[in-house]
């Protein structure tokens, strides 16, 4: 079963190589390309993790203020 999972992961990696045309590059070019791709992907994930929940919460508050509009009681 572990072999099947490893084969599947290798197949996914191969698809990535084919789609981005890094299959034809020489090894040092491939390493460079992988580094850049992984860096960009990591930055996208980090930005999403840091900023998206805050923006969703603010948007939710903005829209609920328009439609609800009741002031919070301070008692």
């Amino acid at each position: 079963d572990v072999k099947r999972v490893k084969d599947y992961i290798y197949w996914l990696y191969y698809q990535y190589l084919l789609i981005t045309c890094s299959y034809v590059l020489e090894p040092w070019e491939q390493s460079m390309f992988h580094t850049i791709t992984v860096t960009v992907f990591a930055m996208v994930v980090y930005t999403a993790y840091v900023f998206v929940p805050i923006h969703i919460r603010l948007a939710f508050e903005f829209f609920s203020q328009i439609f609800g509009g009741q002031p919070e009681s301070t008692v």
């Binding site: 197949w11 191969y14 698809q15 084919l18 789609i19 981005t20 045309c21 299959y23 034809v24 070019e29």
Partner: protein, 516 residues
Amino acid sequence: QKNGVSNGTVYKKTFIEHFEQAPMYVAVLTFLGFGVGTIFGYLRDFMRAWGLEKRSVAAEREQQKDFVPLYQDFENFYTRNLYLRIRDNWNRPICSVPGPQFDLMERVTDDYNWTFRFTGRTIKNVINMGSYNYLGFAETDPNALKTVGKELQKYGTGVCSTRQEMGTLDKHVELENLVAKFLGVEDAMVFGMGFATNSMNIPALVGKGCLILSDELNHTSLVLGARLSGATIRIFKHNDMQCLEKLLRDAIIYGQPRSRRAWRKIIILVEGIYSMEGSIVRLPEIVSLKRKYKAYLYLDEAHSIGAVGPTGRGVVEYFSMSPDDVDVLMGTFTKSFGAAGGYIAGKKDLVDFLRTHSHSAVYATSMCPPVAEQIIRAMKCLMGLDGTTQGLQRVRQLGKNTRYFRRRLHEMGFIVYGNDDSPVVPLLLYMPGKIGAFARRMLDKNIGVVVVGFPATPITESRARFCVSAAHTREMLDTVLNALDELGDFLQLKYSRYSKSAHPELYEETRFEFED
């Protein structure tokens, strides 16, 4: 998708062509792949220009660096950076007859396709899906080649002269009479080379003041002949009869560009089967257009002679038309007859004119006798004049193989272009990374295929082109189809949205028998 016909009465049988478009994400990913390749191409060019990397690439000499640059255009950039990386899939030397199977010399590269070296081994019995061997006449069977051997002993190999000086042998006369009888026309003339037949005879037929209407996807030989002739060239969209009719009407209404005189001659250049698309020309509509507007028709049957039609006489017979409808019938003997050379056939006046005015007749060496004898024996076999029905059997076998192969590919879910009856089968690959992977993996499975990329096809539509042959047995085709199935799943090539069934279960009944 079925194509509707504009004149419902012109076609006597259904004309089904497929040109399916891939889903949008495929086009996006193709451009992405080419973008990555281009960026790395610029990087490598930069490194080569600044001396960070020393490779033997074509470059101008030091003294010429201030001249107009020779290697800066896109084609050279593409060749240097993209074609070179997967160059090991082309120009592979073979060392046997290109029949249904052949032997390949093994080639390895140590420096990423800049140089190759032969290991000395040969890869034996690679299934041949790339040679134009439609009827299987490329064979080494001594029985079949008996007459060819005899003519070789009698005439030798060289003719050493042009047609008009001393190069017309009795073999040529015999061959020309046979070709004329085969096609059902008055007379024919044969030339030594198929490409030269087109490029040297079109300038003899048209000149300045004439109009050439040529299909978008015509072969280079037709384009070269048209350009050499000096006539005005207008292009119509591939197999698009509305576009052709509009061009004809404009030509007749407006005449020549500045003087508004009538054109001296209007000639339509089309091919029987287009070798990159696998589509068949819409001959009945073109003939009705040409009769209405009084134009001439030049039909290049390089891939279709011998390969389509109930008895192998080409597209004219495929559409059940008479050869008198086409003014100039041209074809080559390279594809279906296992020889070399070309012919032009038509009315006797036309061929007599070409005998005196063709550039090829005046300056080019004529066909050599053993090759002429090979064509004679192949044609006699096709016509049944050698006493057997082998010729007809080969044509029928080719038709069966073609239909089977195309049907299975469509069922598996690949995008395949072209008409259902054409033996040229292009399978679309689209992404540049998959071109090299596909060809290499097929060779690992002992199947030789031809993959085609940018300059010969549009940049986003790279393809693998299969040429089905009558010499392929059902087992060979099944081997190839199974390999394609496996590879299609592994490389994700099954883009079609209209496949009938993914895996047709052939043995369902016997499976249920064992379930008690």
